[in-house]
């Protein structure tokens, strides 16, 4: 009896519901079928707009010029300061370093402010106030503080990625099921065990939600940091191309930033599936 009910969440049941028509390949793998189709449609639309409808070149540069720019940029050696490898590397490094520092500090402070409610309540108005500031507004100040080097970009990225983790950690802490805490207390668990074995793992789904937001924000932080003054990086390239009105390579860099952001998000998603697999499956089991 128990065996049968355990199978409720297994795929057999879903199959039974849709036995008449087995799920199509589109339904099962939309990311490998429909998503590429959308990409092709967008590329065709782009090509039509520029090469057939002759939209102005400074609005929509022809796709082949953009791809030529990408090829040129990537055909150089990675240590060549004119190659896209080099500038991508600089931007990714700034984004990752800021992301690591900002999200680590946000997580730790989130736990501290949640664990000591007096601290949390007294700091909360300032946190909300600082969070509602547009963080990019302090970007020009970075040049004053740190000059044109990496530190300023890492700093602003850290500031931007700090808040999603802080807010999500605090929300996750609030959402821990009280029964889990009672279970630990009924076993005379130490505060450290309560935090490490119950509260921290319970917060993981919230932390990963924050991390995937922060991953995208980290690219924005690095690029904005480079806008206000830098000697290398994709953001600096964007400014250069913009001033020279080189629209095709500018589009190439924008595309490149999109791909980097996508990969960062993808990496966070893989980590989430590795360390937080239970949250998605528990939810899926609850929905069937």
């Amino acid at each position: 009896m128990a065996l049968e009910s355990a199978n409720l969440s297994s795929p057999e049941r879903n199959d039974a519901l849709t036995r008449h028509a087995p799920p199509s390949v589109f339904r099962r793998y939309p990311q490998f079928t429909i998503s590429p189709a959308i990409l092709v449609t967008l590329l065709v639309g782009w090509w039509l707009a520029s090469d057939v409808l002759h939209a102005p070149i400074y609005v929509v540069p022809p796709p082949e010029q953009v791809f030529q720019a990408l090829l040129r940029g990537f055909s150089r050696a990675p240590w060549d300061r004119a190659s896209y490898w080099y500038h991508s590397g600089v931007t990714i490094w700034e984004a990752l370093a800021g992301f690591a520092i900002g999200s680590a500090l946000g997580t730790v402070l989130g736990f501290v402010l949640s664990h000591w409610p007096l601290l949390g309540k007294s700091w909360y108005p300032y946190i909300v106030g600082f969070q509602s500031l547009p963080k990019v507004a302090i970007a020009p100040l970075m040049v004053v503080w740190f000059g044109f080097g990496l530190q300023g970009k890492v700093f602003i990225t850290a500031v931007i990625t700090f808040f999603p983790l802080l807010v999500n950690t605090m929300a996750g802490y609030q959402a821990v099921e009280p029964e889990r805490i009672e279970l630990a207390r009924s076993c005379n668990a130490s505060e450290w065990h309560l935090l490490s074995k119950i509260i921290f793992p319970s917060c993981l789904p919230f932390l990963f939600a924050g991390l995937s937001v922060a991953a995208v924000l980290s690219i924005i932080g690095a690029v904005v940091g480079e806008f206000v003054g830098a000697s290398a990086g994709l953001g600096m390239l964007l400014m250069q191309y913009n001033q020279a009105l080189e629209i095709a390579p500018l589009f190439a860099v924008v595309l490149l930033l999109g791909v980097i952001g996508f990969l960062m998000n993808f990496a966070v998603g893989r980590l989430e599936r590795r360390y937080c697999f239970w949250a998605q499956r528990s939810n899926a089991a609850a929905r069937t």
């Binding site: 128990a2 355990a6 969440s9 029964e179 076993c187 239970w278």
Partner: protein, 274 residues
Amino acid sequence: MNPVLAAAASLHASADCRPPLILARGLTKVYATAGGGEVMALKDLDFEIYDGEFVSVVGQSGCGKSTLLKVLAGLLPYTAGSVALNGRPLRGPSSEAAVVFQSPVLLPWRTVLENVLLPIEFRKLALSRYREKAYDLLEMAGLRDFEQRYPYELSGGMQQRASIVRALLQDPRLLLMDEPFGALDAMTREQMNLELLRIWSQSRKTVFFITHSIAEAIFLSDRVIAMTARPGSIAGVIAIDLLRPRDLSIINTDRFGRYAAHLRALLDAQGGVS
């Protein structure tokens, strides 16, 4: 004399002279409400529970029975009166008591085996010494083949059995169970009741069982405490003199029906309908 009316405390006092495992006198719990007022959740409870006994508390929702369980678990401080566990005043959670909650409270990131061993980790005991025992208890609960599975792969009944194994593994003298089968369907619930009796007869723990089902309380218990609400107080204690081992057929006997009628009368007299 009607056996139903036999006063349980005196019955036990004559049977053996050992001190009770739990002795509560004038136990009172007052909650402060958000508005600054006070709510009396438990008022002047006097009861005792002896070693090896299966005692149920039955009452409607909100009568304070879960509060009582949390007080006995050391999770809630009480306001007045006294409670002694095994002769010592109760101050905070004790290693002699283990709790089975309303929901299984299994951690979804741990396998069944890891979940069952969690209290051992919390109590900083040697895991190696408890692993064999965990296997035995999982075997007894019919979960041996599921020890490496995650909770979401188990049915509700299996999850609750795993949580009972988790409590038993700590080898407590007292098992505090807070409506553990309330969320299960009626059929599964009957099966779980039978299993619980089987496990109880093998382990001989003292069980303090909270339920809102009169039938469940009678079927499982040596004694049933009827509680009424606002403020939570004891309306009466009934000794259940039904032969063990029990099976589901006793539910249809006249004796069972009389116990149920008596309990319902006790609960109704105070305006409480379960």
